[in-house]
């Protein structure tokens, strides 16, 4: 058996709780400072042609988050031929510049969705959300019937759009970028306007009837979001 050294620096720290706390804190900050902070100077730049989420797409994104679709779906195509063959071009950092939060996910119970807009269509999504197993036999994706009943929460969409525009400088209303609603009512009009073409490609009569009354259902927004994923 060895003797425990006395008078070592460690013994000193172990007798002084405040020093212990400070030492721990200093040590645990180093990794983050070296690895995380440098990237903040580079990666937030949008790639050319990237547009902010339109009102309806943003509504869909909020529904995606509410339902935690990211529990089963990734939005990150890794640079392997097997992935680019299945899902399309690998993902680039600049494509995520308007993603708050990012939605890469960490488990692919279902397929990646980063470019799903290229190979799935409105009517397919509609059938799939109603009854996943009718379109995909053996799928374990839940059915989402309530998406056909609940209406888009325009207030929260408006709030988020204005926040990212004013606080983070997301370039709404510039060039041919989507518009941000100047008022809540304006955002509602944007949502209704964008919903038209999506609903046209849908089959559900109750969604169409609701739309005729100026009411946009959640499923419409979610599909608009998925269709944008290209």
């Amino acid at each position: 058996m060895l003797e425990k050294e006395t008078g070592s620096i460690f013994e000193f720290i172990e007798k002084n709780s405040l020093l212990m706390g400070v030492s721990i804190f200093v040590i645990i900050t180093i990794g983050g400072i070296v690895e995380v902070i440098p990237s903040f100077t580079q990666s937030a730049r949008p790639i050319a042609g990237l547009k902010p989420y339109s009102a309806l797409e943003l509504a869909g994104r909020q529904i995606y988050i509410r339902e935690s679709c990211n529990a089963c779906h990734s939005q990150l195509i890794r640079p392997f031929k097997a992935e680019t063959d299945r899902y399309g071009a690998y993902s680039l950092s600049g494509e995520y510049a308007y993603d708050r939060p990012f939605l890469w996910g960490s488990r692919r119970t279902g397929p990646d969705l980063h470019r799903v807009g290229n190979y799935r269509t409105t009517d397919w999504h509609e059938a799939h959300f109603k009854n996943a197993r009718a379109v995909s036999p053996g799928s374990n994706m839940p059915n989402f019937p309530w998406l056909f009943e609940d209406s888009v929460d325009v207030g929260t969409v408006h709030a988020e759009m204005v926040t990212v525009r004013d606080v983070f400088g997301v370039p709404y209303d510039q060039g041919d970028n989507p518009q941000s609603g100047k008022t809540l009512e304006a955002t509602r009009q944007l949502v209704i306007e964008e919903a038209g073409p999506v609903i046209e490609a849908m089959k559900d009569q109750s969604v169409k009837d609701a739309y005729a009354q100026g009411d946009v259902k959640d499923v419409v927004a979610l599909i608009a979001y998925l269709n944008r994923m290209k």
Binding site: F102, R108, N143, T156
Partner: protein, 488 residues
């Protein structure tokens, strides 16, 4: 053996409360986990109700087991161990009790918000901003109590367990705060849901902050404080010295330094810079050293104690718990290697790795600690050693089912996604790879059922121990100390 202060001088009221919380949130969280396991095989189980879908239940499971069960186990151990190694009765009991109450309130609110879909989607940080604020308050209550205890201590030198508890407090505090930074949209616009917020970071930056947090949430909730628990309860249960102070020192400082660098292994082949990923991989490998340092130190503390292991299920839980720690900390670094991660990422192999740590290491260690604490806090003896023994075997079998099935499932699915036919075209549709998982998911569900059954046996054993406390008062330390635990 040097005399210790008698238990009567300590105030265990809050530790007892946290033990009960751990039992409650453990059974809730694991039942939800089991529901998830079955929903993957039988998706109709959700009855087409939003609150029962896999997607809403999954974050509830992770939050309930990590922040409900695990944190409650950690706090219970803290309120028990800190008094004994600092040689001071619990200070600020009102603060500590408020901590207990607020903690449980938070978990209830967390369950509600997650089921209602008020999620931020950031893994292990799903709760809405206002609840984050409440959590920070709760955390500071714990930290306040911690430093008050340290200030009042009669034992000058800090025992290893305390180093780890302090690291837990500081680490989680820092990580949670930075990852949670967000702007509540209602305050900007006065419209929409008041609980909604947008992250301060976007895209790749957000991912980096998230996994700097996420990986270290594993470090500072599922590892560091669990080591704290082991460092107290293993030597205590075995009535042996900790194997090596030098190894404790090495492992502790090594662990808390290296852990913070390993986060990018969650982002391999993503859009974060290559050099960051490579550093993450390399530090994940180096992480084996301090991790195995702790495991070896804890296991060698049992040197010469083979006979006790045969008869004492509490020692078994603690020792096998540390062995699973060794397993998970070898498996993790391997999964971090780029070419392995290319297969493992996004698959069930990760889920298997998680549960090696969660069920084997975290679960077993916390249950071992509770088994050790409860008879002492209630001044009685364990209701049934036999039951604990059976529980141990049922749960061990459960874990074996869980990780073997997930291991094979993950590698199979990861490879199927890449498999090509003779022409170099993808050989399987995604759905083919989903259907191929059903046998493995079924085995996992069997494993989960066994583990949960064991947990219910555990709860029953603890409940009966507490209930019989009135009838079986025993003389403090003596009759409940290691090895002599007997069935009532």
């Amino acid at each position: 053996m040097p005399t210790t202060q008698s238990f009567t001088e300590y105030d265990y009221s809050v530790a007892k409360g946290f033990v009960l919380s751990a039992l409650l949130w453990g059974v809730v969280g694991m039942s939800v986990g089991l529901t998830l396991a079955f929903e993957l095989i039988f998706p109709e189980l959700n009855a087409n109700l939003p609150w029962l879908t896999f997607n809403r239940l999954r974050p509830l499971h992770t939050n309930a087991v990590i922040f409900g069960f695990t944190l409650a186990g950690i706090f219970a151990s803290w309120y028990y161990v800190s008094q004994r190694v600092l040689k001071v009765r619990m200070v600020l009991p009102v603060l500590a009790k408020a901590h207990l109450v607020l903690f449980n309130l938070i978990i209830v609110l967390a369950a509600y918000t997650l089921l209602a879909g008020h999620s931020t989607s950031k893994e292990y940080h799903e709760l809405p901003w206002w609840l984050d604020v409440v959590i920070v308050v709760m955390w500071l209550m714990w930290g306040g109590h911690m430093f008050a205890m340290l200030g009042a201590r009669k034992e000058k030198t800090l025992y290893v367990s305390l180093w780890y508890f302090m690291a837990c407090f500081l680490g989680v505090g820092m990580l949670f705060l930075f990852n949670g930074l967000a702007i509540p949209t209602w305050f900007v616009t006065q419209t929409g849901n008041w609980w909604h917020s947008v992250s301060m970071y976007a895209g790749t930056n957000d991912a980096q902050v998230q996994w700097w947090f996420g990986h270290n949430a594993v470090a500072f909730v599922l590892t560091v404080p669990i080591i704290a628990i082991s460092y107290y309860f293993i030597p205590k249960q075995a009535n042996q010295p900790v194997y090596s102070y030098r190894l404790s020192l090495w492992s502790f400082w090594g662990l808390i330094f290296v852990y913070l660098w390993a986060g990018p292994h969650h982002l391999i082949y993503s859009t974060v810079p290559d050099w960051v990923q490579t550093l993450g991989v390399v530090f994940s490998l180096i992480l084996i050293i301090p991790s195995w340092g702790s495991m070896v130190n804890l296991l060698l503390t049992m040197s010469g104690k083979w006979e006790q292991l045969k008869t004492d299920p509490i020692a078994k839980l603690l020792v096998i718990g540390s062995t699973f720690y060794g397993f998970a900390t070898l498996e993790g670094p391997v999964q971090a290697i780029k070419s392995v991660n290319a297969i493992a990422h996004f698959t069930d192999w990760i889920v298997g790795h998680v549960h090696n740590g969660a069920l084997g290491w975290v679960g077993f260690t916390i249950m071992g600690a509770i088994y050790h604490m409860v008879p002492r806090m209630y001044n009685t003896r364990l209701y049934s050693v036999k039951l604990a023994e059976n529980q141990f075997w049922v749960q061990t079998l459960g874990i074996v089912f869980y990780f073997t099935s997930m291991w094979v499932a993950g590698i199979t699915q990861g490879s199927m996604w890449r498999t090509t036919d003779q022409f170099g075209n993808l050989a399987y549709s995604f759905l083919d790879t989903v259907r191929a998982m059903v046998p493995y998911w079924s085995l996992r569900a069997v494993g989960g059922t066994l583990y949960l059954a064991g947990f219910i046996m555990f709860i029953y054993n603890i409940r009966m121990t507490i209930r019989n406390a009135a009838d079986f008062q025993v003389d403090g330390e003596q009759s409940t100390s290691s090895g002599s635990v007997q069935a009532a």
